[in-house]
C-alpha cells in the first residue's frame, strides 16, 4: 500500500465532502478502505454514516444475520415432490383437481399427478423430506421449511424478477442490492454482493442490478450459467499480456499524471477518488484470484462439497466459492443452479429432470450447511433455498408439472430462524398457499428483518418517490424467528 501515502488530505472536512461527492463502490477506495477492514468474526465494524458508502453500516435494530446466501434453483422445483408431502395427491392421482384453477395459468392443466418420490421423516423434528434430497434431509433440524410462499407471476421472467427485485413490471433494485444499500460490506477489497453463475435469461442483470440505487450496490457476476463454475471469472480482473511489475510501473505513471492534473484542477473531488480507484482495482486483482483458488481447500472439504464427483462438482464448486466469499465478509452471495438444457422446469419428464437436478445439488448443499456449521458461520449467516415458483400438483402432459406461483416451498437455515420447523401450509393437494401465507414481499421483509433492517424504513428516493424492496406490502413472518 506504499503509494497510498502520497494521498494527502488537507483536512477532515474536505475529506468528508469528498466521500459524499461521488457514488463509488466495489469499490471505492476511501480513507476507510485504507484501513483495510476485513471481518474477523468478532463483530461488525461500524463506520460513520458519512464514510465510505460501502463501509459496514449500523442496522436499524440488532441483526440476527450478518450475511445472506441464496441458493437459487432456476426453473421452479416442485414443492410436492421435495418438502411438502401431500397424501391426498397420492390417493387421488388421476382425478381432476376438486376446486377451481387460478384465473390465469401458464399452460393447460390436466388431472392430479402423484409424486414419484416417497417422503420420510428425518431428524429430531421429524420433518418429511422426499427421497430426492437424502443428504439435505440429514440437516433437516437446521431447516425452516416455508411451505406457504406465494407470488403472482406464473411465467419465468416475471417470477424471477419478482423474487429478486420485488417487481415484475419495472426495473427495480435487487434484494442483494438493498442489503448492501442498508448494510454496506465488511470487506472493502471485494464486491459487497456477488452472484455465482447467474442466468442471463429471464431478467438477467436486473436480478442482481442496483437500478436506481448507487452503483456500488450492484451484484458482481462471477461467470454465468453458460459457463462451468471452474471457468467463472469477474470480467477484466486479470491481464494476460502484462507482468505484475509492468502494470505496477504503469499505475505509478498514471498516478503521477493524475496528481499533476489534480494540482491544476483543485477542489475537484472526483479526480481524487479516481486516483484512488486504481489502487483499489490493483488490490482487487490479487484479492479475487485468492478467493477463487479452491485448491487451497483440503481434499476432505472438496469431498464434502462433492467436487470429486462429476455429478456434483459444478454446484459443489459454486457452494464452496460462496463459503469463501461469505467468510471474507461479502454481504450477499447468490448461487444459481441453472443449466443450459433442463433446469428445474419440468413441464414434462418430471421424474427424470428432478432426479438429475436434485442429484446435482443435494450433496453440495448438505456439505455447504455442514461446513458453515463447523466454522461457526451458520449462526450469523442466513441461507435461503428455493426457485422462482413451485409446480402444480396437476399434470401437464402425461408426466410433467406446470408453473405454480400460488403456493410453493422455500427454506431458510441459519441465523435467526427456527430449525426443524415447518411454517405455513398449502391446501391438501398443494396448489394454493392457505395457512400463514407468505408472499414474496413477506419473504423480503423477513430477510431484511433478519439483517436488522426494517423494510419500511429502508427506502431510497428516486424520481420523486421513496422506493422500498417491498413496495407497499410485506410483513415479517415473526413465527419463524428463533
Amino acid at each position: 500500500m506504499a503509494s497510498d501515502s502520497s494521498i494527502e488530505c488537507s483536512n477532515a472536512g474536505t475529506r468528508r465532502q469528498l466521500l459524499k461527492s461521488s457514488a463509488v463502490g466495489f469499490g471505492h477506495l476511501a480513507l476507510n478502505a485504507m484501513l483495510a477492514n476485513t471481518v474477523n468474526g468478532s463483530g461488525s465494524i461500524v463506520h460513520g454514516a458519512d464514510g465510505d458508502p460501502l463501509a459496514a453500516q449500523v442496522p436499524h435494530f440488532p441483526a440476527r444475520a450478518k450475511r445472506v446466501v441464496f441458493l437459487f434453483m432456476k426453473g421452479g422445483p416442485s414443492h410436492v415432490d421435495t418438502f411438502d408431502p401431500k397424501p391426498l395427491l397420492d390417493r387421488d392421482s388421476g382425478k381432476p383437481l376438486p376446486f377451481d384453477l387460478p384465473r390465469v395459468t401458464f399452460a393447460k392443466q390436466g388431472n392430479l399427478l402423484r409424486s414419484p418420490w416417497k417422503f420420510s421423516r428425518h431428524g429430531e423434528s421429524g420433518l418429511p423430506v422426499s427421497a430426492l434430497f437424502p443428504n439435505v434431509a440429514r440437516h433437516v433440524d437446521d431447516l425452516c421449511v416455508l411451505r406457504s410462499v406465494h407470488g403472482t407471476n406464473p411465467a419465468h421472467g416475471g417470477a424471477l424478477l419478482k423474487l429478486h427485485t420485488g417487481s415484475d413490471q419495472f426495473v427495480r433494485p435487487s434484494m442483494g442490492a438493498w442489503c448492501v444499500y442498508g448494510l454496506g460490506t465488511e470487506n472493502l477489497n471485494l464486491p459487497a454482493f456477488v452472484t455465482i453463475c447467474p442466468t442471463l435469461a429471464h431478467g438477467g442483470v436486473n436480478n442482481w442490478g442496483s437500478a436506481f440505487l448507487p452503483a456500488h450496490c450492484q451484484g458482481t457476476p462471477i461467470g454465468n450459467a453458460s459457463l462451468p463454475a471452474s471457468r467463472a471469472q469477474v470480467k477484466h480482473i486479470a491481464n494476460a499480456r502484462l507482468t505484475g511489475s509492468q502494470q505496477r510501473r504503469q499505475l505509478d505513471l498514471i498516478a503521477a499524471m493524475n496528481r499533476d492534473h489534480l494540482r491544476d484542477n483543485p477542489a475537484e473531488l472526483a479526480l481524487q477518488d479516481r486516483l484512488n480507484s486504481f489502487e483499489l482495482a490493483y488490490r482487487m486483482q490479487s484479492a479475487m484470484p485468492e478467493v477463487q483458488d479452491l485448491s487451497r481447500e483440503t481434499d476432505r472439504i472438496q469431498h464434502l462439497y462433492g467436487i470429486d464427483d462429476p455429478v456434483t462438482q459444478n454446484f459443489g464448486r459454486q457452494c464452496l466459492l460462496a463459503r469463501r466469499f461469505l467468510e471474507r465478509g461479502v454481504r450477499f452471495v447468490q448461487v444459481t443452479h441453472s443449466d443450459s438444457e433442463v433446469q428445474w422446469d419440468q413441464h414434462g419428464n418430471l421424474y427424470q429432470g428432478h432426479t438429475k437436478n436434485a442429484s446435482e445439488v443435494d450433496k453440495p448443499i448438505a456439505g455447504f450447511l455442514q461446513d458453515l456449521k463447523q466454522r461457526g458461520l451458520l449462526q450469523d449467516t442466513l441461507v435461503i433455498w428455493g426457485g422462482e415458483f413451485g409446480r402444480t400438483p396437476t399434470a401437464q402432459g402425461s408426466n410433467g408439472r406446470d408453473h405454480n406461483p400460488h403456493g410453493f416451498t422455500m427454506w431458510m437455515a441459519g441465523a435467526g430462524v427456527k430449525g426443524g420447523h415447518a411454517y405455513g401450509a398449502t391446501d391438501e393437494y398443494g396448489y394454493y398457499a392457505t395457512e400463514d401465507k407468505m408472499h414474496i414481499h413477506d419473504l423480503h421483509a423477513t430477510v431484511l428483518h433478519l439483517l436488522g433492517l426494517d423494510h419500511e424504513r429502508l427506502t431510497h428516493r428516486y424520481a420523486g418517490r421513496d422506493f422500498r424492496l417491498t413496495d407497499v406490502a410485506g410483513r415479517v413472518a415473526t413465527d419463524i424467528l428463533s
Binding site: 463509488v24 466495489f26 469499490g27 387460478p102 384465473r103 427421497a131 406464473p154 419465468h156 421472467g157 415484475d168 419495472f170 442466468t199 435469461a201 431478467g203 438477467g204 452503483a215 456500488h216 454465468n224 450459467a225 453458460s226 480482473i237 486479470a238 494476460a240 499480456r241 507482468t243 509492468q246 504503469q250 505513471l253 498514471i254 499524471m257 492534473h261 483543485p266 477542489a267 475537484e268 472526483a270 477518488d273 479516481r274 486516483l275 480507484s277 483499489l280 482495482a281 490493483y282 470429486d308 464427483d309 456434483t312 443449466d339 443450459s340 438444457e341 433446469q343 421424474y351 427424470q352 429432470g353 432426479t355 438429475k356 442429484s359 401465507k437 427506502t459 424520481a463 420523486g464 418517490r465
Partner: protein, 945 residues
C-alpha cells in the same frame, strides 16, 4: 417484542408509510356513507365489545388503521367501516351477502381474500357476518376517520406551482460588468453572481475551448489539425466557425441523437422477462440521428413520435418515429393479457410524462398523485387514449406476444423471405431430429443391455459418486449416467413389483455382491427375454400390437420401454452423447443459429397505430384491472389546461394526435421548459432544473427561473430549433469560462456551482471514452446508419442457455453498438450508461474500481494502445513521440517535465521482458503501448475542462 411496543411499532411504521412511500394502496376516494337505520341495542354493543372488537384488533388493524390504511379502508372507527375504501363500500348494514368485507373473509373470491396471510376460522367469519346482520353496532367514535391526503396538491394550488404557470418572457436584466455579456444568457447568470458579489471565472484558453466544444457537439476529441487551425484563426468569428463546422458534421447527430435515445429508453432488445431482439429498432435510432442533423423542429419531432402515424402527411419516416411508444420493456410472456395491456400503457404514460413533460404521471395509476396535482382520473383519461392504440401485433412466439410493427416490405421481398424462413426451419428441425435420433439410439442400446444394467446396479450403493459408477460401467460398456440413474430409480421405486426380485437379491455387503449379481442376471435376462418373445408373438397376430396380454409381462414391458424408467437417457446432450455425437449436434445447432442471426428481416418499423377506439375508460381502483371504478372521458391533465386549452377529441380516433399537438404548443407550460432544460443539462452537466425528468413538487426548483423561461420562449419563438439554442448557448461567456477559479468566494458558498461561477468539469460519457480511445489510435470506423444488432428480428438474445452471442468488437461509433437490455455492454454499464428501460436525461458519473480494471485490462484498450504505439513508432525522435501522443490525446503539447517522465518510463519499461502475449511486440513497442494506455487511463483524458 411486547404487545405494547408492537403496537407502537406498527403505528409508527404506518405513519411513516403515509409520509414517505407512494403505494398501490392509498387514499379514500369513495365516501358512501350509509344510513344506519334502526337503533342499536346494548346487547349488540356487548357483542361488538366481546367478539368483534378483539377480532378486528387481532386480524385487521395491522393494515386497516391509522392515517393511511391499506386499500383506503380504515376499520379502526365506525365511520371508517362505513366509509369503505378504494374498492367502494366495505359493508352494507344488515346484508352480509352484499358486503365486500364478508366476501373477502369468506375466501371464495381469489382476487379478494382477507386477511391476506390466511383464512379466519369459521367461527370468526360467523362473528363478522352476524355483526353485519345486526346492522353494524359499533360504539367507536374516538378513533378518527382516515384523513390521509386525497392528493398531494389540489388543481388550484397546482396552477400556482411554478412549472404549471405559463412561460413568461422575462426582460434581460441589466448588469454592472457589461463587457462580459455576449448573449442575454450571460446577463441572467451574471446578475445572480453580482448579487452575491462574485466574479465569474476567466475565459478558458483556446485549446481547452476547442476540446470542450468538440466533445460536446460530436462526442469526439479534436484532431491536432483542427486545434492548430483554431489557434491560428485570430478573427472574432473563429469560435463560431468551429461551432458551425461541428454542427454541420454528421457526428453532431450521433452525439445529440444519443442524448435523446437516453430519454427514449432506446434498446435493441426487449429485456425484462423474455429478451427478444428488436430487429427493427435501429430504424428509429437512425431517424433520431437524422432529426438532430437536420434540425427537425422539436414540436414536429414530438408530434411524430407520439402520432406520426396520424399526421396528415404521414410517411415511413413519421411512422418510424412512433417506435418511441413501442420501445419500452414489456413483460411479453405475461399470461394475463389484460394486465399486460395496462402495464404497457403505464410504461408509455410514464415515459411520455417524464420525457416531454417532466411529470411522473405513472404515480397516479393507483391513486391521486401523492405530491403533484395529478388526479387518478387524469391518468385514466390519458390511458384511454393509449388503450385506443395498438402497441401489440397479432402474432406471437409461443407464450411470447409480439409488439406492433408497420410493414413496408414488397410482395417480392416477402416471397423471398418465405424461402429463408423455410431454410432456417429446415436447419432447426435437422438439428432436433439428429438429437432425437441419437437419443433414441442410446435408449435402444441401453434396452438391449437391460439385464446388465440391473446386474451392475447391484454392485454399488445409491449414494455412490458418478466416478465410482463409471469404473463399474466400463467393463460392461454401459452408459455411466444411465447406470447411475438406474440405481437411483431402484432406490426411489423399491415397491415396484418388477424390481421386487432385484431388491431381494441385491446385497449391501460387497463380498456377496458378485453372486447376487449373477442371480439378478439369471432372473432378469430370462424375464426380458420372455417379454421380447411375447412381443414378437403378439406382432404376428397384430402387427401394430404394442402391449402384452399377460399382466405380469406387460408390467415388465412397461418398465423396459418407459423413457423415464430405469433406463432413462439423460436429457442433456452433454451428458447423453459421446464426444463425436455431441460435436455433430452442436455443429448443427450452431448452423441453424447462424443462419437465423444472419437472415434478413422483412422491411418493417416498430410503431403504433390506432386500435379499437374507446372514448372513456374506468378508473382502475388501486391500479387493478380486476377492479373497475367510475369511467372517465379521454382528456388531458387538468392542471395544465388553464395554460393550454384542450381541443375537441375525435370520436373515431385515439386522439394521440390531439394530445401530441397540445403538448407541442408554445402555450404548454412544461414542454419547452423541459426540453431547453435538457439542452442545458447536456451542455453543462447539470440542468437549471437538476431533476430533468421531474418538474413536480419533489423535483428541484430552477436554479435560475428567469433564464429557464427566457430560453423556453426564445426556443419556441425560433421554430423550436435545437441548433439555434446551441449557437446561442455556445456563444455565451458562461459556456466559454474556464473550469477552475481559485479565487472565487463561491468555492465554499456554492460548491456545487449551481450559480455557474465557473464552467463545470465533466467526465466523458461511456461512448465518448470508447470512441476517443478508438479515434486517438486511428481505429474508429466512421460509417453511418444501418442494422447493427447481430440478431434477426424477434430472435432470442438470451434463451435458457445464457450464452451471450452479442459481440462488441465492432469499431464503429458507440451509438451503433447493440444495446441489449438485461446485459448492457460492460464497457458501457461500468461508465454509467443509463438503464435502457427508463427515460434518463441526466446520466450519473460514478467512480468505481471496475472502471479502472477495464482501462487496465480490457482488450479494447490494450489493442488501441498497441495501435497508438505503432503510429508513434513511425515518429523518428522519442521526445517527438511524446509530443505527438499528447497532442492527439490531450490536444496540447507536453511540458518538458512530462517529456522527461515519459521517456524515463519508456526506458525503464523497455528493460523488462514482455509477459505471455499473443501480440508479438518488441519490448520497446510494448513500452510505448504501456505509455499510450496510461494516457487513456489518465484523468486528463477522461475529463473535459
Amino acid at each position: 417484542m411486547s404487545s405494547g411496543s408492537a403496537t407502537n411499532f406498527l403505528i409508527a411504521t404506518v405513519l411513516k408509510r403515509g409520509k414517505a412511500v407512494c403505494c398501490a394502496a392509498g387514499c379514500l376516494l369513495v365516501l358512501t356513507l350509509l344510513d344506519l337505520s334502526g337503533s342499536v341495542y346494548a346487547d349488540d354493543l356487548e357483542f361488538f365489545e366481546k367478539r368483534v372488537r378483539p377480532l378486528l384488533v387481532k386480524s385487521c388493524y395491522e393494515c386497516h388503521s391509522a392515517d393511511d390504511p391499506d386499500g383506503g379502508l380504515n376499520l379502526q372507527s365506525a365511520a371508517g367501516v362505513l366509509a369503505g375504501g378504494d374498492s367502494g363500500s366495505a359493508v352494507v348494514a344488515g346484508k352480509p351477502e352484499q358486503s365486500l368485507l364478508i366476501e373477502a373473509v369468506r375466501y371464495h373470491n381469489r382476487d379478494l381474500q382477507m386477511p391476506p396471510d390466511g383464512r379466519l376460522s369459521d367461527d370468526a367469519i360467523e362473528v363478522l357476518q352476524k355483526w353485519v346482520r345486526l346492522g353494524l353496532p359499533d360504539p367507536r367514535t374516538n378513533a378518527p376517520l382516515a384523513s390521509g391526503p386525497s392528493m398531494g396538491m389540489s388543481i388550484e394550488e397546482g396552477q400556482q406551482f411554478w412549472s404549471f404557470q405559463t412561460v413568461s418572457a422575462p426582460t434581460v436584466p441589466s448588469v454592472r460588468q457589461t463587457d462580459w455579456v455576449q448573449t442575454p444568457i450571460d446577463a441572467f447568470v451574471l446578475t445572480q453572481l453580482e448579487q452575491r458579489d462574485a466574479e465569474p471565472a476567466k475565459p478558458a484558453d483556446k485549446r481547452t475551448l476547442i476540446r470542450r466544444v468538440t466533445f460536446d457537439l460530436t462526442g469526439l476529441p479534436p484532431t491536432p489539425d483542427e486545434v492548430s487551425e483554431f489557434l491560428a484563426d485570430d478573427s472574432a468569428a473563429a469560435f463560431s466557425k468551429v461551432v458551425n463546422r461541428l454542427l454541420d458534421s454528421p457526428d453532431y447527430g450521433i452525439r445529440w441523437g444519443r442524448h435523446w435515445l437516453d430519454v427514449a429508453r432506446y434498446a435493441d432488445s426487449n429485456g425484462l422477462d423474455e429478451n427478444l431482439a428488436f430487429g427493427n429498432a435501429w430504424r428509429y435510432r437512425d431517424y433520431v440521428v437524422d432529426a438532430f442533423n437536420n434540425d427537425k423542429p422539436f414540436d414536429r419531432f414530438l408530434i411524430e413520435q407520439l402520432a406520426g402515424d396520424l399526421v396528415p402527411d404521414a410517411n415511413e419516416e413519421s411512422i418510424t418515429a412512433t417506435g418511441f411508444l413501442v420501445l419500452g420493456a414489456k413483460v411479453l410472456a405475461e399470461p394475463d393479457r389484460e394486465k399486460l395491456e395496462m402495464d404497457t400503457i403505464d410504461e408509455q404514460l410514464d415515459t411520455v410524462g417524464k420525457a416531454f413533460l417532466g411529470m411522473t404521471i405513472g404515480c397516479a395509476r393507483c391513486h391521486n398523485h401523492k405530491f403533484d396535482p395529478l388526479l387518478q382520473s387524469d391518468y385514466y383519461a390519458l390511458a384511454a387514449i393509449f388503450k385506443s392504440t395498438k402497441t401489440f401485433g397479432d402474432s406471437n412466439t409461443g407464450a411470447i406476444k409480439h409488439w406492433h410493427e408497420h410493414s413496408f416490405a414488397t410482395e417480392e421481398q416477402l416471397e423471398e423471405l418465405k424461402k429463408v424462413d423455410a431454410e432456417i426451419a429446415r436447419l432447426k428441425s435437422e438439428a432436433s431430429s439428429f438429437k432425437n435420433k441419437s437419443m433414441a439410439d442410446i435408449q435402444i442400446t441401453a434396452r438391449d443391455k437391460a439385464a446388465e444394467y440391473l446386474m451392475a446396479a447391484s454392485m454399488f450403493d445409491a449414494d455412490a459418486s458418478l466416478k465410482e459408477v463409471e469404473a463399474i460401467a466400463r467393463p460392461w460398456q454401459l452408459h455411466p449416467r444411465i447406470l447411475h440413474h438406474c440405481r437411483l430409480h431402484l432406490q426411489y421405486n423399491s415397491d415396484d413389483p418388477v424390481f421386487a426380485r432385484w431388491h431381494e437379491l441385491a446385497q449391501s455387503d460387497s463380498s456377496s455382491r458378485q453372486s447376487a449379481s449373477d442371480e439378478i442376471e439369471k432372473h432378469y435376462r430370462s424375464l426380458f427375454q420372455q417379454v421380447n418373445e411375447a412381443l414378437v408373438q403378439a406382432k404376428k397376430t397384430n402387427p401394430k400390437a404394442k402391449i402384452l396380454q399377460d399382466v405380469r409381462l406387460e408390467e415388465v414391458r412397461k418398465a423396459l420401454f418407459d423413457s423415464s424408467g430405469f433406463l432413462t437417457v439423460p436429457a442433456k446432450p452433454e451428458f447423453a452423447f459421446d464426444d463425436q455425437t455431441l460435436a455433430e449436434y452442436h455443429k448443427r445447432m450452431e448452423a441453424a443459429r447462424i443462419a437465423e442471426s444472419g437472415a434478413p428481416d422483412a422491411h418493417a418499423v416498430m410503431g403504433v397505430s390506432d386500435g379499437k377506439v374507446l372514448t372513456s375508460l374506468p378508473i382502475h381502483i388501486r391500479g387493478s384491472h380486476r377492479n373497475p371504478g367510475e369511467p372517465v372521458e379521454r382528456g388531458f391533465p387538468k392542471v395544465m389546461l388553464a395554460a393550454a386549452a384542450q381541443p375537441e377529441l375525435p370520436p373515431d380516433q385515439s386522439s394521440r394526435l390531439e394530445l401530441a399537438t397540445w403538448m407541442a404548443s408554445a402555450n404548454h407550460p412544461l414542454t419547452a421548459r423541459v426540453y431547453v432544460n435538457r439542452i442545458w443539462r447536456w451542455h453543462f452537466g447539470t440542468g437549471l432544473v437538476g431533476t430533468t425528468e421531474n418538474f413536480g413538487v419533489l423535483g428541484d426548483r430552477p436554479a435560475n427561473p428567469e433564464l429557464l423561461d427566457w430560453l423556453a420562449s426564445e426556443f419556441t419563438n425560433n421554430s423550436w430549433s435545437t441548433k439555434h439554442m446551441h449557437r446561442l448557448i455556445l456563444a455565451s461567456s458562461v459556456y466559454q469560462m474556464a473550469s477552475s477559479h481559485r479565487d472565487s468566494g463561491l468555492v465554499n458558498d456554492d460548491p456545487e456551482n449551481r450559480s455557474l461561477w465557473k464552467f463545470p468539469l465533466q467526465r466523458l460519457d461511456a461512448e465518448q471514452i470508447r470512441d476517443s480511445i478508438l479515434a486517438v489510435s486511428d481505429r474508429l470506423d466512421r460509417s453511418l446508419k444501418g442494422k447493427t444488432v447481430p440478431l434477426r428480428n424477434r430472435q432470442f438474445v438470451f434463451d435458457h442457455t445464457s450464452i451471450d452471442h452479442t459481440k462488441y468488437g465492432s469499431l464503429r461509433r458507440s451509438i451503433y453498438l447493440p444495446v441489449i437490455r438485461n446485459n448492457v455492454y460492460s464497457f458501457f454499464s461500468q461508465f454509467d450508461f443509463p438503464d435502457p428501460t427508463m427515460p434518463t436525461g441526466s446520466r450519473h458519473s460514478t467512480v468505481v474500481a471496475p472502471q479502472a480494471l477495464l482501462l487496465m485490462n480490457a482488450d479494447l484498450v490494450m489493442d488501441s494502445a498497441d495501435r497508438f504505439a505503432t503510429m508513434l513508432m513511425e515518429v523518428p525522435q522519442d521526445s517527438q513521440k511524446v509530443v505527438q501522443a499528447y497532442l492527439r490525446a490531450f490536444a496540447r503539447p507536453p511540458t518538458d517535465h512530462e517529456i522527461r517522465r515519459a521517456l524515463a518510463f519508456v526506458g525503464e519499461s523497455s528493460k523488462t521482458k514482455a509477459a505471455d502475449s499473443d501480440v508479438d511486440l518488441t519490448a520497446k513497442h510494448q513500452a510505448w503501448s504501456l505509455f499510450c494506455q496510461s494516457l487513456f487511463a489518465s484523468n486528463e483524458f477522461i475529463y473535459v475542462r
